[in-house]
Every structure is written in C-alpha cells, then in structure tokens.
Symmetry: C2
C-alpha cells in the first residue's frame, strides 16, 4: 500500500460513502436542469456547472485505497456506480476490479472498452491477472498476454491452470530468495537494493542453484543476529511447505494452526514456485464462509444488492424449485391419508409440528457432524459412537418435547390415544432425523461428495415426508 | 514457534492421530490384561509393559506443535483424551489450553489440580491469560495474579476488562517501539539486542517520550533504506489505528481491506497500549463464522463431539423449545379452520407447500439483507429500493411457482377454483416473506439488536402461520 493512500475505519468509510452520494445526487440534479434547458447556452452551462461536482467527486476518490473505492462502488446503484467508475484513474482500475464482488465486477467490466480493460489488466501481477481472467473477454486476455514477458507468461499460464480451491490459485510470485552460503551482511546489502520488498515479506526463501528450497530465513531472525553469520546456520529447515495442487483449505488450516504470515509453495521436485500470504488466506476464509452462508439459504452466489429483479430470480430459482419438489412429495404423503384426516381433522393441525421439529433437530445434528468431518476428527470408530449419542439425544428430546405435545393434544382434543400417537410420532421422527443427520454427511463423504452441501434440504425433505407419514400412519393404525 | 517444533499438514496430522489412537488402544489392552491378573506379579508387569506404550506416546507428542496436540485431544474420547493430556509436559499445557475449543478445554481443566493449573497459566502472556481466565477457577486466577509483575498485572487487568467482541479482547502487548530521532543504524543495533522479535512483527511503532504514537516503521522500509537515514523521515504517518473499545469486527474488516499483518492500538489520548496481529484476526474471523453457522442451526455453542448425551441436550434445547412454540402457534392457526378442512380435505395436503416455500423464500431475502447491512452498504434510501426489488422477485416467483402449483392442485383435485386459491395464497405468502425478510433485520438494527440473530426463526414462524392463515382463509372465503 503506497504511502499517500488514506486508510479509514468503517465509520469514516460510511461518511465518505454519504459524501459521494451527495455529490452524485447534486450532479444528477444539475444534469437534469441542463437537459431541460434548450438552445445555444446548453453546452456552455454543462461544461461549467455540470463538471464541478464530478471534479469534486474525483478529488474525493483520488486518495482512497482501492479496497475503499470498491466498497463505495458496491454500495452505489448501477447508474451512479458507473459515473463514479468513469472518474477512477485508469492505472487503479485493475486493483479495484480485484476487490469488488463478482456481481459488481461484471457490471464494471461490461461498461469498459476493450482498450481500457487491457490497460487495467496490464497493471496487475500474474497471480492477480489469473484471478480476474475468468471475467475478462478472451480478446482482452490475448492482448494482455502478448504484452507480458516470457517469465510472466509462464506465471500467468501456471496460475490460470490451477483449480479454484487449490493452493495454486491463491499463491503469488513475489518471493525474495537468497543463497545459504552468504552472510547476513550480504543479505542486508542485497535487500537495500530493492525499492520496496513485496508485501507480507516476513521471511526470505533460501534456495540452491536449481531453485530448490533449502530453508527459510525469517526477517525476525535476520534482524536479531550479528551480520557476519551465514544464512545456512540461521535458516529454519522445519517449515510449512505447500504444493500448488494442495487444497487451499488445507493451506488455510496450516496458516491458522501455525499463525503464519507467508508460506513457500514448491513443485514435486522441491523447486520454489511461489508463496502464499496470509492476506490471500484471509480472503479465502472469508469467501468460503460467505459462500457457505449463501448456499445455506439457497442463494447460488452473492447478489449485487442493486441487481435487477430478474437477476435475483435467476440466482434463487433452483433452490425454490428443489424445495417445491420436496414439498410436493410431502403433500402427496398427506394426500395418501386424506381419509384419516377427514375422519379426524385434528391430525391436520398437529402434523406440521411433528414434521417441523424433526427438521430442526435433524439440522442440529447434521451441522455438528459436518463440522466434525471438516475438522478431520471423525474416525470410522467414532462414527458408531456419534450415532449412538445422537439417537440418545433424539430419544430424550422425543420423550420431553413429544410428551409435552402429547399432553397438549390430549388436552386440546380430549383424546388420550391421540396424545400417545403424537408423542410416539415425535420420538420416531426425531430418531429418523438423528440417523439421517449422521448418515447423510457420512454417505456423501464416502461417495466423494462435499458433505456440507445440500444436507439441509435432504434432511428437511426426509423429516417432512417422514414426519407426515409416521404421524398419519400411526394415527390410521391406532385411531381409525 | 520454536525451531524444533514439527509442522505438519492435515493429512500427516490425521496419520499422527491414528498412531496416537493405536498406542492408546494397545495401552488400554495391556491395562485390561494386567488388571485381570492377580497376585504379586501385578505391580511388576504393570511397571514394565504397561508404561511402554505411554512412553512411546509421550515421545510422539513431545515434538508436536501445541495446535496439533490440541487437534489430537479434540479428536479423542474423554478417557483417552485425559490419558494423553497427562503425558503433555507441564510447560506446554497453557498454550494447548488456548488452542482447544471451549468444550474440550472444560474437560481438560476439570481434570487438573489447582497447582497444575497455576503452573500452566504462568507460562502465558497477559493477553493469553485473559482469554483463558473465564474458564479458570477464581482461586487459580488469584494465585497467578500474585505471581505477576506490576506491569503484567496492569496488562492482565486491562485485557480482562474489555468485552469479548472488542479490539481490546484480541490485542496483545508485544510491540517493539522506537523513537523518531534515531537513525536506522541505531534501530538495527537495538533490534540485535533482542533474543527474538515478537511474532508478527512487521512494523515498529514510533512513539514519543509520553508513549504517544507518532508513526509506524515497516520492517520492509527499514530493510531497503540506507542506515544513516532517520526514523522520522521514513516512518509512515497514515496508518490504521485502533482503539481498545472498537469492535473487533471493525478491526477485522480493516485487516482484510488493507491486508495488514499488525496494527497499533492506542488509547483516547493517542498513547500506544497494544497491537492486534493478523493471527488474532484470523482466529476471530473463523470463530465468528463458526458461531454464526452454529447459531443458524440452533446450537448454542460448539459441542465436544464426545460430549455426553445430556450436554448435547442442554446445548440444543432452547432452539427446539422456540420452534415448538412457533409450530404450536401455526398449529392453532390451522385449528381455527378445521371446519373448512373437514369439508375439503385437499386443503390439509396443500397447505404445507404454501407455508414451506414462503419460509424458503423469506430466508433467501433475509440472508441477502443481513449481509448488505453487515457490509454497511444499506443506506435508508437504498432500503425502499431493496423492498421494491424483493417484492418484485416475490411476485414473479409467486406467479411462476404458485401458478405451477395451482395447475397441479386443479389437476389433482379437479377444482379450478382451488387452483386459483393456491396460486393467490402462494403469491401473497411470498410477498409476506419478502416484506418480513427486509423488515425484520432492519427493525432489529433500528432497535440496536444484532440484525443477524434469530431472523431465520422469526421469518419461518411468520411464513408458517401466515401461510396457513392466508391459504385456509382464502379457501374458506371462496370455496366454502
């Protein structure tokens, strides 16, 4: 981050946003007035008054950090966003495009000419370019590619070749390397030749003539030792070493466990090919958490909050369609027992309770199990233990809550037998929920699917249809 | 992290876990055999064979990083966990206690003597102690307190006084400070007097005689400049400055936006009181994401996967109780329309669809809005726009999905009017869901509550009861 950039806390940022919005509103007002005027004075007025607010706006945006400009662009409706975007200096556009969300990035890229896009992309490093590439038109990528050095082309090709959730996709190429047979004095002199060290340089990588990684030299060690000592004596040889094909999630866990700031990435032959830094890891963790949260609610991806109604409908329809199908199945289960319901209409009022509580309880179980699997703490042996425990919890909950509801049903409808059916159905549905809560993620894992995805829908579908079936079935058997 | 500690990736870690479990299993087997034997040879055999596996286990645990030992302890059932815990060297217990989850920490602390706990606590820094303190018996805290220096007592008191979600609660006191009127040469000489620099020292803090923070000197700048330059010339004066009472979440956002490794914390008078490092921020982000995930599923806190059935019941009961109440209310809404259901039993089969899809759609909306609020991007003006958009989405979804279901109802039950009621009820319930999805988080925010919490229960309760009421109400009006 350059020295002249302003850094602000969130409150200030919201104030800036308000200022930007005020300026944009004034600008729009003037524009409207100008457009209402006719005749020869039109151009003159426009040139004078019109631009004033835009100049002021540009002056506000100028010193801001790219991440802050990205924040402001996200918070603006499309038309205002594009006005502000036009005021951003070309050399900063690349960095800002990296910071905005996918949905907003799309709107910005759509508004840019090909030459503009090429210029913006050319300001970026290979690893950053690789992040942006999927959103750029192929022509732009080709143009940028032609402008790169051989080494950069190689890096870009490498960075683009790794899948999205791999270490390769979050690594950069800004490592500082030294040899092990030189003294700290030489290292310090070498570093002084840099204009600046790459961000997040907390250690230097010690490599041999073949670029093979021999060790790491933390700056902290460099700084506290006498300058005549050799690198080889001080370098650490036990350090976290990643490979480009490792899962990014594994790298994130290593960063968390060992409190790392950077970690080297080596190829299978042990040659240093890049590094991962903690800021890439933080972004990765945040994005993972967000996409999980969105998936949980059935949103395909983050929405630009100013997206059109139609974009939102598209983002949400698949989840609703799935739920519609499962709800329809549950409805047919009820349909099969219409005779019983006709005879005892109380069943209609009570059945959603059985289904609903089963779903809630099943979601508790599945959340627990998915987390345990994600931590890698679930051994096959532990599984039986977990299932036993969950069944125990379900039984207790069934007896307590089911018992309570049984009493309520008895009291409301004056039928003791209905109360017993209610309690039994609740308990059975909770047992079903517990088994499914343990079983679904395990089966998904066994067959190589992500245990976290779709579990909630599946379990709710099961406890809905299952709950209706159990309750209405028991009622038909014992009450009709 | 000390040099001799082994660092491992997750796969290795799982292998280690398997090894530990094998050793524990062998140990238990021997123990059982020994206990079955009677007579004088008992003690001898125990001493010889019995301890062999424990010694081996201890040798395995010895070189592991505290975070890795914590991982293994988490994955072991209670009895095995305590056997392994007993083998851990006393001086490492403090660090490990910091790494394990709350639930597991409780089991470990419960197994320790007071003197052991005091010894473990005394190995920690003030900020770490403050994290552990809530789980320690008061007597232990008092003992530890007596052993601290005046400065450390002050730090501990300060660290313990900040609320859990404040910057004060995640800051540490390991900052390196320099004066602005000295040359880099002097700084470098000063640093060489340290045995090691504090972890995550990426910048030095420049303070005056009154400890007032004047600027920061990144190591990267220290290293690339000539040694005769003065600190005051090179130090950066625009930097992120936190206060202990700031929200930790704000600090996390600043770290993400500006890719920080550390940031100074100053009191209202501008005096440097501590610093926040990226590893504390990463832990905070991860914990926040996890507790949100748990809360979403209605789990009060993370469960030790080997917790007793009873502990699990306690962790989950409040959520089930709330849902039971809302389900009961919904059930009473249905109860009010029992006459209609008796006359047209198809209503019983169709009503859960209306309620369910409303809930799903409402949860999509609320997730969107809560995220937008959390990003600080929702201005009062934007709100009306968002509501309009969500109502638009709801109308389209209502017409598409409601229309489909209307056709299905018509086809299944041969009543065109029933189909119309179905479509209208779906659309109305989706509109209700959209309004609530926008309104609930906004109202909660207005009244100072966390907009993220409890929204899902509230909206599901509303769309359930509301859906039943709308559908059965319309049916009663137009079909009876």
């Amino acid at each position: 981050m350059s020295e002249e950039t302003q850094l602000t806390d969130t409150e200030d940022l919201q104030e800036r946003l308000a200022e930007v919005q005020t300026l944009l509103a004034r600008h729009k007002l003037v524009e409207e007035l100008v457009h209402r005027q006719e005749g020869p004075r039109h151009d003159l007025v426009e040139d004078m008054v019109h631009k004033q607010h835009l100049n002021e706006l540009q002056a506000r945006l100028e010193p801001m950090h790219p991440a802050d400009i990205a924040y402001i662009l996200e918070a603006l409706p499309l038309d205002e966003r594009l006005i502000a975007w036009d005021l951003v200096k070309a050399e900063r556009e690349g960095e800002i495009l990296l910071e905005v969300s996918d949905a907003v990035r799309e709107t910005l890229i759509d508004s840019m000419e090909r030459t503009e896009l090429v210029a913006a992309a050319e300001t970026l490093d290979a690893d950053e370019l690789a992040d942006l590439a999927p959103d750029l038109p192929q022509g732009v990528i080709d143009d940028v590619f032609r402008g790169l050095s051989v080494e950069e082309r190689e890096q870009l090709r490498a960075a683009m070749s790794y899948p999205e959730d791999s270490v390769g996709s979050i690594m950069d190429f800004d490592m500082v390397t030294v040899r092990e047979d030189i003294s700290l004095e030489v290292v310090l002199r070498y570093l002084r030749r840099f204009d600046e060290l790459p961000d997040h340089t907390d250690q230097l990588f010690v490599v041999d003539r073949n670029e093979r990684l021999k060790g790491v030299l933390p700056l902290n060690i460099l700084l506290v030792n006498e300058v005549d000592v050799e690198v080889g004596i001080l370098m650490q040889t036990d350090f976290v070493e990643l490979e480009p094909d490792d899962l990014a999630d594994e790298a994130a866990k290593a960063f968390e466990r060992y409190d790392l700031v950077s970690a080297p990435v080596v190829d299978p032959e042990g040659r240093l090919v890049g590094r991962v830094t903690v800021n890439a890891v933080v972004d990765f963790i945040r994005e993972e958490a967000e996409s999980e949260q969105l998936a949980q609610a059935g949103l395909r991806e983050e929405e630009d909050i100013f997206a059109s109604v139609w974009d939102s409908v598209k983002n949400r329809w698949s989840w609703l369609a799935i739920n519609l199908v499962t709800a329809f199945v549950a409805s047919r289960v009820i349909g099969a027992f219409e005779d019983s319901i006709e005879k005892l209409v109380a069943l209609a009022a009570l059945m959603p309770i059985v289904a609903g509580i089963g779903g809630n309880s099943g979601n508790q179980t599945i959340t627990m199990i998915v987390r345990a699997i994600a931590m890698g703490q679930v051994q096959p042996d532990a599984m039986r233990r977990l299932l036993r425990k969950e069944l125990g919890v379900a039984t207790i909950n069934g007896l307590i809550w089911g018992g309570l509801l049984g009493l309520a049903a008895w009291w409301l409808y004056g039928s003791f037998k209905l109360g017993i059916v209610m309690t039994s159905a609740m308990t059975l549905n909770l047992l079903l929920a517990a088994s499914a809560g343990v079983g679904i993620p395990l089966l998904r894992q066994k067959f190589g699917a992500d245990p976290a995805i779709g579990g909630s829908v599946m379990i709710t579908a099961l406890t809905d249809s299952g709950g209706f079936f159990i309750f209405l079935g028991l009622a038909t058997l014992f009450l009709m």
